[in-house]
């Protein structure tokens, strides 16, 4: 009997699957739910950022760019299409200014123009 059951284990598995509900997620027909810890788009707390450039130094993918003229005049930019979504900038920032949100980065038709200005400070 045991042997018989084992012989037809795949058949019983598909019959079981037929009676179970499909395991497919609702997206895109239902709204998208992403887990809390997912590393998505990069956001910044402009009050905390001082433009020190630690995040840019440690970024492995060249996804962050800092144009710095002086202490008070800088522009921090993020290229979602070059980002490795590794979270290193979050670790490197001493003030906890930069972090990943759990929002999905949307697909685009032109990656080179996809630049998010995180913080722009004019002197």
């Amino acid at each position: 009997m045991e042997k018989f059951k084992k012989r037809f284990s795949l058949l019983s598995a598909i019959i079981q699957a037929w009676f179970d509900k499909p395991e497919t997620v609702g997206y895109p027909f239902l709204p998208l739910v992403l887990p809390e810890g997912f590393r998505g788009a990069i956001v910044i707390d402009p009050d905390k950022c001082t433009g020190c450039g630690l995040c840019v130094r440690d970024c492995p993918a060249g996804g962050l760019r800092l144009e710095k003229k002086s202490r008070d005049e800088f522009k921090l930019m993020h290229h979602p299409a070059s980002c490795a979504y590794c979270g290193q900038c979050e670790r490197s920032c001493l003030r906890g200014a930069i972090s990943h949100s759990n929002a999905l980065v949307a697909a685009t038709t032109d990656a080179r123009e996809l630049v998010v200005v995180l913080k722009e400070k004019q002197g």
């Binding site: 795949l10 598909i14 699957a17 179970d20 499909p22 395991e23 497919t24």
Partner: protein, 308 residues
Amino acid sequence: MIEGLFFLLFFPGLAFQVVCGLAFEWLDRKLLARFQRRVGPPWYQPLADLIKLFSKEDLLPKGANHLIAALLPLVSFSAVLTAGLYIPVAGFTPFSFEGDLIVILFLMSVPTLAYYLAGIVSLGVYSVLGGGRSLLQFFSYEVPLLIALSGPAILGQSWSVAGIMEAQTVQGPFVIFQPLGFILAIVGLIGKLKRDPLDIPSAKSEVVGGSLTEITGTKLGLWHLLMKVQAVVGIFLVINLYLGWLKYLPAHLSILVFVIECLIMVVILSVTSAVFARLRIDQLAGLGWKILVPLALLQIGFVILMGV
């Protein structure tokens, strides 16, 4: 004249068979998806696929013969449609004649040969490999299938499908006397349709797309369509030969029973494709000649003894 044209173009001809073919594909894919815990495609999916293929560019490798490559799916499509005309649908037989079973079986073999030729003329490496494999497979399943299908003919003492159905109304469905033959017919049908587990000629992981690897656009669409229609015709044939006892039921009841029988056949085909692994070509030849042929002969012997 007008009636004949209606039979040809709408029922049980072109339109009916195409619709049945698309419905069969959707049912099959949906069932398979559910066996795999998925949702599966929406109902219009086969239609969208077909129209999309018709809208695509028609490419062939350099040096391939465009005319023959275009004729092959057309010829085999018409062969399958013609075969479908002679098969009674829910007991409705406009074109039946004595000996139509032989014509049907002959016409049903045309796509396999055309499939082989399509591989040769489109010049791709995988096409040639797939074409050769389709012939090897043909020799393995065709003989047991033919022997098995001659069982109902002998028992019904007629070589016409309608005649065999008539005999069944007297003697009862032939599946009771020939369960072996019924199973062999299904195995042969799976081989004919190149479905998993006998999808050796078109196995993705081995020969990419088989004979159709290099074929695009409208031709590919026609090939896909004719294979679905072939599946429907094959299912109708097997049902009529083994479960065709409904000729003298009231009309609407006989249609209902026929539809239910068709659905059962689709489920059988889906389940077999879900639970069996693809065979190697040597394993298939061994199965065909060492197991299926002796079984078919045994069945025939039993049928002849019954007739005596």
